[in-house]
C-alpha cells in the first residue's frame, strides 16, 4: 500500500482536476469536450484551467512551505499563516498596489517580493530559541494585526481582496516562475536539510552551515507564500495541517521524504475545496478559504489537543 500511496494521491489529484474542469455554474459534458465544442473549450481554457492550475500549485506550495518551515524551525506547530506572513504580505501588497496601481499586472511577482520582505523582517525581529507555543502565539498576534490592517484598508479604500475567481493566464505564468525560483533556492541547500534532525549545537559542531540553510529555506518559503497569497488570499492553518496528515499516513518517514505526499495532499485539498466553493451554491460562489478553514481549523485544534510527539517537543 505504502508503495502505491504516492501514485494513488497523484491519481486522485488528476481525477479532481477532471471533475473541476467539468463542473461549475455551467456544467460541461465530457462528450462536448471530446467533440471539440468551441464554447466548452473556451470556458475551460479561459476560466477553469488557470483557476485549477493555481489551486493545484498553491496547495502544493502551501504544504511544502509548511513542512520546510517546520524542519528549519524545529517546530511542528508552525506554518506561514500562523506566523502571520500570509496576512503580512497580503497587506503589504495591497499597500503597494494602492500607491502604484500600474503594478497590478505583476501582482504575483510583487506579492512574492513582499513575502520575502515580511519573512526577513519577521525572523530578524522575533527573539531566538522560543518555546514552540510561544512562537505560535507571537505569530498569531502578527497575523491578527495585519488582518485588521487589511480589513481597515480594504473597507476604507474599497480595494477588493484576491479570490481565485479572477485568475488569468498571466498570473498562472508568474506563479510558475516563482515556483521554479523557490525550487532553485532549495536545491542549493537540500543536502543540508537532513542535519536538522539534530539540535543546533550538534549541527554547528559537525561544521554544517545551519544559518545559511535556514535563510535559503525561509527565502524560498517567503517567495512562494507571498506569490500564492496574492492569488488565493489567506488560507489559515493549512500549511501546518498538511505535513501532519503526511506524518500520520507514514509515521516513520523523515520530513525530507514527505515532500511529495505533502504537496499532493495540498493540491488535493485546495482544489476540491475550491470546486466545492464554486459549485455547491452555484451561481453564487463561496470563499474557498472559508471552506478550507472549516476543515483545517478543527484538525489544527485536534493536533493541539492530542499533543502527541510533536507538540510536546
Amino acid at each position: 500500500m505504502q508503495k502505491y500511496y504516492r501514485f494513488i494521491l497523484a491519481g486522485l489529484v488528476l481525477i479532481s482536476v477532471v471533475i473541476a474542469l467539468l463542473v461549475g455554474s455551467t456544467t460541461i459534458s465530457l462528450a462536448a469536450v471530446l467533440h471539440g465544442q468551441p464554447d466548452a473549450w473556451q470556458l475551460i481554457i479561459n476560466y477553469r484551467l488557470p483557476r485549477i492550475l493555481v489551486a493545484v500549485i498553491s496547495g502544493a506550495l502551501i504544504g511544502v512551505s509548511g513542512l520546510l518551515m517546520q524542519v528549519v524551525l524545529r517546530n511542528h506547530l508552525v506554518d506561514n499563516s500562523i506566523l502571520g506572513i500570509m496576512n503580512g504580505s497580503q497587506f503589504l501588497l495591497m499597500a503597494i498596489l494602492v500607491i502604484i496601481p500600474s503594478m497590478l499586472d505583476f501582482n504575483v511577482v510583487i506579492g512574492g517580493i513582499t513575502g520575502i520582505l515580511l519573512t526577513i523582517a519577521w525572523f530578524l525581529v522575533s527573539p531566538k530559541n522560543q518555546a514552540p507555543l510561544r512562537l505560535v502565539l507571537l505569530g498569531i498576534a502578527t497575523a491578527m494585526t495585519f488582518q485588521a490592517l487589511t480589513n481597515i484598508a480594504s473597507e476604507g479604500l474599497g480595494v477588493p481582496l484576491p479570490t481565485l475567481s479572477t485568475v488569468d493566464w498571466s498570473q498562472v505564468m508568474q506563479l510558475i516562475i516563482m515556483t521554479i525560483l523557490g525550487c532553485l533556492l532549495l536545491i542549493m541547500i537540500w543536502p543540508n536539510l537532513r542535519y536538522f534532525a539534530l539540535p543546533t549545537r550538534q549541527v554547528k559542531l559537525l561544521g554544517i552551515a545551519e544559518q545559511k540553510t535556514t535563510w535559503f529555506v525561509l527565502l524560498a518559503v517567503g517567495l512562494w507564500t507571498g506569490a500564492l497569497t496574492s492569488l488565493i488570499g489567506i488560507v489559515f492553518f493549512l500549511g501546518a495541517i498538511l505535513p501532519e496528515i503526511s506524518r500520520f499516513m507514514s509515521p516513520n518517514k523523515k520530513s525530507q521524504h514527505l515532500i511529495w505526499p505533502t504537496a499532493l495532499w495540498g493540491s488535493l485539498l485546495l482544489l476540491n475545496a475550491d470546486t466545492i466553493a464554486r459549485t455547491i451554491l452555484a451561481p453564487k460562489e463561496l470563499p474557498t478559504s472559508a471552506i478550507l478553514l472549516v476543515i483545517s481549523g478543527p484538525l489544527f485544534a485536534l493536533m493541539l489537543i492530542k499533543g502527541g510527539y510533536h507538540a510536546r517537543h
Partner: protein
C-alpha cells in the same frame, strides 16, 4: 594541548570565571567536577567556542570537537543507523562492536531504552573521530547497569584511540575511577587541576567545594569517598 589562558567570563554582571589558566592533558580522560551552578556547562560552551570569553584566550583548540550531553533531542524519527550516518557515512566497525550497536542499527531511536539511546549517541560522537570529546553529565539519566556499561565502554575506546576526553560527572567515585585527571571547579570560579590519584586524598578540599563533610573509606582494594 587545549590551553586556557587568563580566561574571564561575565554573565549578567556576574563574574563566573576570573583569570583562569589551565591546560587540558592530551590523550587522557579528565573529569570536571564541581557543585551545581558553578559554571561547568558554561566552561564547556567556552571550550567549544559557542560562547566567547570576556577576556583571555583559549589556544590550540582542536579542529574536531564532539559533544554529548545528558539529554539529546532528535527532531525526526531516525534509526540508529541514520543517526550515526549524520556523523559519518561509513560506520566504524570497531565502534559498532564495542558499543554492541550492530543489532540495534535499524531500530528507531525512540523505541530504544534510555541507556541504549545514550550508547547510540556515544556511537554518534565517536563516529565523528573527534580530537576532543566533551561529555556533559552523560550518565545522569541512566540506571546503574548502563552507567557502568557506558563509562567502561568509553574508557576502553578512549584507551584504544587515545582521544582527549573531558567529562562532567556528578558521582565523585565514578569521576575518580574513570579518569586520570580531575578539574575541580570551585564556587569562587577557581579551577584546580590535579591527577586523580592526588586529588582523591584531598578530602578537605573536596568537602569544602561541595559544602558536604566527606570521608575516605578503604575497602578491599578500593578507596571510596562518602558523606560523613
Amino acid at each position: 594541548m587545549l590551553d586556557i589562558n587568563h580566561l574571564s567570563f561575565n554573565r549578567d554582571n556576574h563574574q563566573l570565571f576570573h583569570d583562569l589558566s589551565v591546560q587540558l592533558p592530551d590523550h587522557q580522560i579528565t573529569a570536571l567536577i564541581g557543585p551545581n551552578g558553578v559554571g561547568k556547562s558554561t566552561l564547556i560552551q567556552l571550550l567549544t567556542g559557542e560562547l566567547l570569553p570576556t577576556s583571555g584566550t583559549i589556544k590550540n583548540r582542536p579542529k574536531r570537537i564532539a559533544l554529548l550531553s545528558q539529554h539529546n533531542q532528535l527532531f525526526e524519527p531516525l534509526t540508529v543507523r541514520e543517526l550515526l550516518a549524520l556523523a559519518n557515512d561509513t560506520l566504524d566497525p570497531a565502534v559498532m562492536q564495542t558499543l554492541q550497536l550492530d543489532a540495534l542499527l535499524d531500530k528507531e531511536m525512540t523505541t530504544l531504552s534510555g541507556g541504549q539511546q545514550q550508547l547510540a549517541w556515544l556511537g554518534f560522537v565517536l563516529q565523528q573521530q573527534p580530537d576532543l570529546l566533551i561529555l556533559d553529565e552523560p550518565t545522569t539519566f541512566l540506571d546503574l547497569h548502563f552507567q557502568e556499561l557506558f563509562l567502561k565502554t568509553l574508557q576502553q575506546l578512549q584507551q584504544e584511540r587515545q582521544t582527549t576526553v573531558l567529562m562532567v560527572l556528578h558521582d565523585l567515585n565514578q569521576a575518580f575511577r574513570y579518569s586520570q585527571n580531575i578539574w575541580l571547579l570551585q564556587q569562587t570560579g577557581n579551577l584546580i587541576s590535579a591527577p586523580a590519584t592526588q586529588m582523591h586524598h584531598q578530602v578537605d578540599l573536596l568537602s569544602d567545594a561541595f559544602k558536604t563533610p566527606l570521608q575516605l573509606i578503604k575497602s578491599a582494594d578500593q578507596v571510596i569517598l562518602q558523606p560523613k
